[in-house]
């Protein structure tokens, strides 16, 4: 019996050995195709994972160049990138979210100046510069604001024209809250502060006071934020949490899915989110969806547009082999010029050859078609009407630590809305900014 067991175990070990070597052999065979470089893309956007996988396959079929796409789980990009970059087969194409993200990865960014893809950009504003070096290229511009269910808004007796600034938004929201029992819905979806949803407020909503302060001062980054517009931040946050589907004390456990469900099921009129969310809320019906600017009661906000920008910059790993860098540059160029690829990236329903929906992105490249994403087109309408888009200044927020500090202070304040608790938000915002900027210098 023992002998048989011994034999079995040895066979098992041998099999394992053979298994290892044969899979190595398989890789070698794969590499002997005509193409020399390979592409490894570490994708930031979980909602576009399936589409990237398909585009990668199409590209490999067309050119023979192997493309591997790995998507980091939501909120896990830095973690995944750090561990992947330490491997011998590191990503050749990765993303940073802007100047702050660039600070930790600039040694890994290949200079894209003069590359073919850089020539396709519609404006150099979308290039992320590190001194004279073009470290990254924004490949998608996105827009966020307050998404509105116009059908419900109509049932409450209002139209979009009624909302032109913070005061009118507040009046509408509070009227809906007062009549929510009879109407059967609330003004806002739950402002969930769970990790899946808190970025909407600690990052995206916090962008507005930062934007107005930067505009006043004429700067685009600072080591010490003053918090001039934090009272406005409080006003809009109060409006969100006290006119929503959820009791403010329960926000800490509400998720992004909860908020999306509130909106899709018609339980709320307003939902702060962005163009990327369209596929999740399309069930409401295209004709019922619109988007308005996030008014916070700042001077001149009648002219304020939606918040448009990018936090998705493509960077090429400068430590990859030369063949891989070339292959990656070719792949990027293909993505923004090839008809199928552009259709897959920008298109909506059925835009991919497999019949799957495209990514619905608006890309800052010459090939950008008219979008199939209604929310993107709403932004175009705002810009055409001469409204001034709010830039994405949250890319200058000092660190994740800072965002988390603001986020937890907001959560505590929501549950118990005292001045003392708001002071903690202000402190996390202003003092936290200074100390985090100093710490990450």
């Amino acid at each position: 019996m023992k002998k048989i067991l011994g034999v079995l175990l040895s066979v098992l070990m041998l099999l394992a050995l053979v298994g290892c070597t044969s899979s190595d052999g398989g890789n070698d065979a794969g590499n002997t195709t005509e193409a020399t470089g390979t592409v490894y893309y570490l994708n930031f956007k979980p909602e576009a994972d399936a589409q990237w996988q398909e585009l990668a396959e199409i590209y490999t079929e067309e050119t023979g160049v192997p493309v591997k796409v790995l998507t980091a789980a939501s909120g896990q990009y830095e973690t995944t990138l750090k561990s992947e970059m330490a491997k011998s087969e590191a990503p050749t194409l990765f993303q940073v979210n802007g100047p702050v993200g660039l600070a930790s990865w600039k040694d890994y960014c290949y200079d894209l100046t003069g590359s073919k893809i850089a020539g396709e950009l519609t404006s150099n504003d979308y290039a992320l510069m590190d001194g004279d070096k073009m470290a990254g290229i924004g490949y998608v511009t996105e827009t966020y604001g307050i998404i509105v269910n116009t059908k419900l808004l109509g049932e409450a007796g209002y139209t979009l024209e009624d909302i032109t600034d913070f005061d009118s938004l507040k009046a509408v929201a509070e009227d809906i809250t007062a009549r929510s029992g009879e109407l059967g819905f609330s003004a806002f979806t739950s402002a969930g502060m769970d990790g899946s949803s808190d970025w909407r407020f600690k990052t995206h909503l916090a962008n507005l006071p930062i934007y107005y302060e930067y505009t006043d001062e004429g700067i685009n980054d600072t080591d010490a934020i003053k918090g001039t517009y934090l009272d406005n931040y409080r006003a809009i946050w109060d409006l969100y949490i006290n006119n929503s589907t959820t009791d403010p004390s329960q926000l800490s456990v509400k998720t992004a899915d909860d908020a999306a469900a509130d909106f899709v099921l018609g339980k709320a009129v307003f939902y702060q989110n962005g163009t990327w969310e369209y596929n999740n809320i399309a069930d409401v019906g295209e004709e019922n969806i619109s988007m308005i600017p996030i008014y916070i009661g700042a001077e001149g906000e009648e002219n304020q547009g939606l918040c448009t920008g990018t936090e998705n910059y493509w960077c090429v790993n400068s430590k990859a082999s030369e063949e891989d860098i070339q292959a990656t540059l070719d792949f990027m160029y293909w993505c923004v010029t090839n008809e199928t690829a552009v259709k897959g990236i920008c298109g909506g329903e059925g835009a991919l050859p497999s019949g799957e929906a495209g990514m619905g992105f608006n890309i800052p490249f010459k090939s950008n078609p008219e979008s199939s994403n209604p929310l993107v087109n709403i932004n175009a309408d705002y810009e055409a009407a001469g409204k001034k888009s709010v830039t994405w200044n949250f890319t200058t927020m000092p660190s994740e630590e800072w965002k988390n500090g603001v986020g937890s202070a907001l959560t505590v304040y929501a549950a118990d809305q005292t001045d003392a608790n708001w002071d903690a938000v202000v402190s996390a915002f202003v003092d936290g900014w200074a100390s985090e900027k100093a710490a990450t210098k």
Binding site: M85, D107, S249, L251, S252, V412, A415, A424, T440
Partner: protein
């Protein structure tokens, strides 16, 4: 046979030894080296000396997390071991269905920490929402929640170890005690507990180190909210590592400090409980 073992033992030890080096010794040494470095990826580091340790010791949140963790480890140590011991005593009596009860009590241990954390978060939310509270809003609630969760998870496991210990106590000692007229309390304190010291050593060691190393349950249940006040050491290290650009080394330095603390406490605890063990 034994001659062969003497001759060939290096051959048999080699695979495990290699695995031990690759999976434990090397990462450990690299980790210690990295704690003196500034780095973005672990393969590309520059030596900076002790600055990481200075920053780690200056971090007041890290100090808070130490005391919070220590309090948690102590409370969970006592509750887990006392309750597990009582369950073990109860389930070694001649009762019907003891095996079923043992299985049921052991089962929570088979569920992963993250899943448990989210499940208990739902349960606590359901209760606390009645009082307009939530577990993430008060670090004391977070503490109680974590203790409940970890006790629920680990009592069954420790109970199994105690049951094994109880069953190994020779029947004749108990009989002799009965004949000498010992009361059941005397039997418990003079025979059972001294004879159980090896199990107690293991269980207290496991529960105190588990308490210090707790990560998934902490992450899933409270994620350190509110404002890092319920953040335990392991989670604090993780957040330091990923929270800011350029703080990877500080996180690593904290991890080394953490290692020294856990090993120190583990050894002290072993020293004290080992002294009480008796020869059977």
């Amino acid at each position: 046979m034994s001659k062969n073992i003497k001759k060939y033992w290096p051959l048999f030890v080699l695979p495990t030894f290699l695995a031990f080096i690759i999976g434990f010794i090397l990462p450990f040494l690299i980790g210690i080296y990295l704690s003196f470095c500034e780095f973005t990826t672990v393969t590309d580091a520059t030596f900076v000396g002790l600055t990481n340790y200075v920053k780690a010791f200056q971090d007041t949140i890290f100090q808070h997390s130490f005391w919070y963790t220590a309090a948690f480890a102590l409370v969970s140590l006592i509750i887990i071991n006392v309750v597990a011991f009582l369950f073990a005593l109860a389930l070694t009596q001649k009762l019907k269905g003891t095996n079923i009860f043992r299985t049921i009590f052991f089962m929570p241990n088979l569920i992963g920490g993250i899943v448990l954390g989210y499940i208990w978060q739902l349960i606590f939310s359901g209760i606390l929402s009645q009082y307009s509270m939530a577990i993430n809003l008060d670090s004391r609630l977070g503490f109680i929640g974590l203790v409940i969760l970890v006790c629920w998870q680990q009592i069954g496991y420790m109970m199994i170890i105690y049951i094994a210990g109880l069953q190994s106590i020779p029947e004749d000692m108990m009989e002799a005690a009965d004949i000498d007229g010992a009361s059941s309390l005397q039997k418990l304190f003079k025979i059972t507990i001294p004879m159980m010291m090896p199990s107690i050593t293991i269980c207290t060691f496991l529960s105190i180190t588990n308490g210090f190393k707790l990560f998934d349950q902490n992450l899933a249940l409270t994620a350190g909210e509110p404002g890092k006040m319920s953040e335990m050491m392991a989670l604090n290290i993780f957040n330091t590592f990923y929270g800011r650009a350029g703080y990877e080394g500080v996180g690593q330095a904290k991890a080394v400090i953490f290692f020294v603390i856990v090993v120190g406490i583990g050894l002290i605890q072993l020293y004290f409980t080992n002294r009480k063990e008796v020869e059977q």
